[in-house]
Symmetry: C2
Subunit: 344 residues, 2 copies
């Protein structure tokens, strides 16, 4: 089970990355976002598809459209950025998506990180429905180290508890290196990402043991049982659970956003996007003593390969990206036709 | 297997916390540290013992004395603090212990965190041989949120690799809450802490499966096989491994310290302390929008209890601390007599 496994049970076709972004842009605008928000979400979603991160690619579009139609999220929200302190930026996303809020605050955040050495971005009143690595990778591409956490919606049982409370609460990290693309990872603190459970359910596959429980709290490998009243477990037992708790504290308590258990979308049938918060920490490694950070991280990569590691986190995405940018992005024909319908 | 499990196979006695600190202070000074360094290490070590964190309590003293005797670490080092930027402090620990370096930089770090909203402390040229939670908990006690990572020495096989490279590379986090002691966790990114393997070996116990490999890289539950040429595995598979890699990047590459695989103590028989780096990030949550952070974190705790969680991270330590401060710290009589010998 992997976010990268291609969906092989239907005919595929190729579409240029720029064309896919333009198509998704039309889809978002047609369904109630501003052109500015559409541009950001379209690029984000197309990038996931381009990188083979299918669980956060066009697979997510029905969820976006459903949540927009429900009135749960404001697709035209204009984020309000506050310059709080020399290392602290706050954004009220205005009940809109988190990515436009990040984009609005980004220049100030980068400027503060370069000046202060470290800076924090606290996004609240926001909806995050995408992969988290696209939020951190661009910082590493300009030589910065970035860490981000976002909380989501109650679906993970804290280790030692009986019932779900935490979200899948991913942690993403990106760091530059001298001789290659940035080192990037994005990991759900749940044993499996929610999108992967949805994909397994759609493909009729079982989950590995230890990923989730059914509606009675009993262990199950049936993705449908997890989705229908069941819940996920944290990865790595009490340690993953502690990290998931940390994500709630950083992404919600520290930003002024909702915890994963605090919002109620019952009045908005079709709502899909968690209304929470997101934290980013950006560090300027040029403030470091000694040899350049990128040379040092490259040395770590070299040694990781020397002990037999064949694939770094992010390697598969970068390879798929190169292929997609060369030949076009491979998408299901049926999904592409559906997007074209939605775009008009 | 737990860091907190008392050692029950020998007679115990009680000693007052202050008396234990004073005794350990004499031990450190007698074995080559300055009084200033002794004061910090003695308080740190006694605090672990007081909290029932035996694997980082007086159990560590022979290792401290051995490493001091070897000339590997400078017990009289005077840390050099550099004010790098409005959110960035650097300390050269001068080949001494990390805790005195943190203590030397702490006032500047706290002042920057309160002013900039977030601040980073990069410690390099340092030796960390203690638990990590004592480094972060005091920040939460004064209303700040703190995160720290420290790398150690090659003993963990990266997920997907054949041979060890990473250290046990713990992550510690502390956050204040309104109605109780701070929320604190300290987790090795290895499947088990090195100190716990040593304790299991000493007690003749087996390890749970999935913790380590022997010198041939084969899975083993024998702690001695892990210690004698074997290695540990990361917790939580590829996710824990990614976090361990992040710790190498933050604690070593970003501080100017050594990676876990970079130092060579072959010329110093008896050396025990990894010569690496440590990173701390301290955040002032009063910069947050809305309700106070401590009220919000308290609400998270309330809800964690409501879903059936009986014990928070840190709860057991705090309970043991209260008991130790009331009746005295419970220590092995033999170990206490040994300390008294070493103190004179």
């Amino acid at each position: 089970m992997s976010a990268q496994s291609p969906i092989v049970d239907s005919p595929h076709t190729l579409i240029g990355f720029t064309e896919l972004v333009a198509l998704l842009h039309r889809v978002f605008v047609q369904h109630g976002t501003s052109p500015e928000v559409a541009a950001i979400l379209a690029h984000n979603c197309a990038s996931a598809e381009r990188d083979g991160a299918h669980s956060h690619g066009i697979f997510r579009i029905p969820g976006y459209l459903s949540t927009l139609a429900s009135g749960w999220v404001d697709g035209k929200a204009i984020p309000v950025v506050t310059d709080v302190a020399s290392g602290f930026v706050r954004v009220d996303a205005g009940n809109g998506f988190a990515q436009p809020a990040l984009a609005a605050a980004r220049p100030l955040l980068v400027s503060k990180a370069r000046s202060a050495g470290i800076a924090l971005l606290a996004i609240h009143n926001s909806h995050h429905f995408a992969a988290l690595w696209p939020d951190v990778e661009p910082f590493a591409e300009e030589g910065l180290v970035a860490l981000s956490v976002v909380n989501s919606m109650t679906c993970v049982v804290p280790h030692g508890a009986d019932r779900p409370l935490f979200g899948t609460n991913p942690i993403a990290f990106a760091a530059p290196r001298a001789d290659g693309p940035p080192i990037v990872f994005d990991l759900a603190t749940s044993a499996i990402a929610h999108g992967d459970v949805q994909i397994a359910a759609r493909k009729g596959e079982r989950l590995p043991p230890g990923m989730g429980v059914d509606s009675l709290g009993q262990p199950t490998t049936d993705p449908k049982a997890v989705l229908e009243g069941g819940a996920l477990l944290p990865f790595g037992g009490h340690k993953g659970s502690a990290l998931s708790m940390m994500v709630e504290l950083l992404a919600a308590a520290l930003t002024g956003g909702h915890f994963s258990f605090e919002f109620n979308w019952a009045e908005h049938p079709g709502a899909r996007t968690p209304w929470t918060g997101q934290l980013l920490i950006v560090i300027d490694p040029s403030k470091t003593a000694g040899q350049s950070f990128a040379e040092r991280s490259q040395e770590l990569v070299r040694q990781m390969h020397a002990v037999g590691l064949r694939r770094l986190p992010g390697d598969r995405r970068h390879r798929t990206r190169a292929k997609s940018l060369g030949q076009g992005v491979e998408v299901e024909l049926q999904a592409l036709n559906q997007l074209r319908d939605w775009a008009n």
